[in-house]
Amino acid sequence: MSEDVGTSTCKPKTSVTGEYSVTNPDQVLENVLENVLIFLTSRRDRNAVSLVSKSWHRAEAHTRSDLFIGNCYSVAPIRVTGRFKRIRSVWLKGKPRFADFSLMPADWGAHFTPWAHAMAGAYRALEKICLKRMTVTNDDLGIIARSFLNFKEIVLVCCDGFGARGIGVIASECRNLRVLELNEDEVLDEEFDWISCFPMEGTSNLESLCFDCVESSVNFDALERLVARSPLLKKLRLNRHVSIGQLYRLALRAPQLTDLGTGSFSLPEVIGQQQDENLELDYGHAFAACRSIICLSGFRDLAPEYLPAIYPVCANLTSLNLSYANIDAQQLKAVIRHCHKLRVFWTLDSICDEGLQAVADTCKDLRELRVFPIDASENAEGPVSEVGLLAISLGCRKLESILYFCQQMTNAAVIAMSKNCPDLVVFRLCIIGRYRPDRFTGEPMDEGFGAIVKNCKKLTRLAVSGLLTDRAFSYIGQYGNLVRTLSVAFAADGDTGLKYVLEGCTNLQKLEIRDSPFGDSGLLSGLHHFYNMRFVWLSSCRVTKQGCLEVARRLPKLVVEVFRRDEEEGGERGDFVNTLYMYRSLDGPRADAPQFVKIL
């Protein structure tokens, strides 16, 4: 600490002996620091600050208002509430991503309840909770609703365990609610009219309401009344029980919307006169009234003849999600040719390479593309291929993030993309046919992925597929020093691949591998790095119990979980461990592990 840190409060007094004295130097420092640290918002900066000294650690803890915990088991709730006293927002993540693909047994964990209880006591001023892949019960939602008087935002992504009743409690108790977003959650089928739980009088502060994943029908009248009373509502995502006719009415009530998730873009079946009347409604007019829409999604049960209704807003769209709409190239072309400003586009592969070409022709500003398979079986005819990928790489030079499902691919197309799109941060290629080589040369896909890590200097997330040898992983280890997330499935020749990755990728945080021949020797080559990672997942590989025990022994602060997907106890299948999931933790093994999970 240099003397320059002194402020006007630090007036040195000259005593008889000529010494300086400053009253309560630590207190002064902390006051100054706290005033400065309030402005620090980045997690990384804050973590760095907290490591400087004890007093900085304290000051930082006092001023941190946003909490992010990437793995809910890395730290116990009580330790968090003990250190940070003034939290206003919490972002908590539970299960690892492979849980989305049925690779994790149900009841594995990631329960929000202990966190709910801890925070209810400690953070009375909490305003915002975001949860991803956690199990949240209706009771938990009740705790949230009743404990935080100024509660404003709840965002649940890929969560489960709650139903309409829980949503209803939030709606009725949280008078300051601004954001209620349910994103791809598994919502329990409870016959309960949660929409009517919102206060029905006075203006509502609601800015965002997303319930597209709620499978039961909503009380439309209540919804319409709510929308009418929410002048600040900018984001509205409806579920498939809202028909296009109802959407029309809502759109007219909320012309200020910027983000709209349509319900089912078709009419319920009505015979006789009513049907004709509905057909005459000018849906284009409704969309034209919403001049501010820049983000469009939904389109469940799409009746393609209604698609032209969205033309009036296409020119302003920055984000378009058609990934639930089975449309062909022609139908897409009619829409996409208006979308010059598009930055984010999600689609099904039903649009074929031809559709992707149309995207490449128009969307010069595209940053993110996701192409999902309409038919997920391995021997299906692939409507998209290397042709589409190449077209995108030539047309969308600013691409930063891509997720591409296909049946066939070539190294040449991937290499071309690595050169044409140097800004790529996320590259996820899923060749659905396992072990598929380059379609034309018959070679492994090593060179393609190698080019991606070599040429895309900003790459932080990579998912590989197709036929791959150790060479691919040597490239990744050699060039992928910024890679934080790596996903591997059905790949490689042997242990060396894993060794290359663990030794080379110094920034690796999340490693998820399935069905690849990596064994103990590969696993042990990462001992120096596991403490720096958020988690490692290895399932159906060739690690043995001995190998896992060795890791657990050498790294005591690592929680090493071993289990079987089918919940058989022991965790092993034959000689090998079925699933290994390990992560660092400040508070040791979790207390809520079910029977079939063995913690070594």
Binding site: V270, F405, G442
Partner: protein, 183 residues
């Protein structure tokens, strides 16, 4: 070092399928493990039994592959089923006088009896099964269907299996109108 005999092996499989060479076979085999070129046992559902060299890649349902969220898969699968009206799965059911149509999945039923019962419940009316001798037993409505050729037929004439595959939509007519369909 493996001789990699697989590389020179002749097979009838298409290029680019799982039977490609280069990958060594696994050393440990258990009765559960599939002896293909996968080194460890992936999670394969019981639907896959044995493999034969000359058969194309088994349509095994590998768990969690491709990595598409079940949320998304369910939505898309729902859509795949519905357009197949021609093969008689989901069909629209209308009843004269009712303002809304319904939709039912014919695959759910195993006989006319089950279908009729369900329709009765749905429309809360009496629909009798047509029989050669009695016509429609004094009921006020008759169930008819449109077949693949676009013709309107009386429900009950053809064997159930044939009906399921040829029915495109159902219409419950007023009994007096149905008599005209007598051949």
């Amino acid at each position: 070092m493996d001789l990699n005999l697989k590389a020179t092996e002749l097979s009838l499989a298409l290029p680019g399928t799982d039977d490609l060479p280069e990958i060594k076979t696994t050393t440990t085999t258990t009765s559960n493990q599939i002896k293909t070129n996968k080194r460890s046992s992936p999670d394969i559902d019981a639907s896959v039994t044995d493999e034969s060299r000359s058969a194309p890649t088994p349509k095994a349902q590998v768990v969690g592959w491709p990595p598409v969220r079940s949320y998304r898969k369910n939505i898309l699968q729902g859509k795949k089923v519905e357009p197949e009206m021609g093969s008689g799965m989901f069909v629209k059911v209308s009843m004269d006088g009712a303002p809304y149509l319904r939709k039912i999945d014919l695959k759910v039923y195993k006989s006319y009896g089950e279908l009729m019962k369900s329709l009765e419940e749905m429309f809360a009316c009496m629909i009798g099964l047509y029989s050669e001798n009695d016509g429609y037993k004094g009921s006020k409505h008759a169930a008819t269907y449109e077949d693949k050729d676009g013709d309107w037929m009386l429900v009950g004439d053809v064997p159930w299996e044939m009906f399921v595959t040829s029915c495109k939509r159902l219409r419950i007519m007023k009994g007096c109108d149905a008599r005209g369909l007598d051949l």
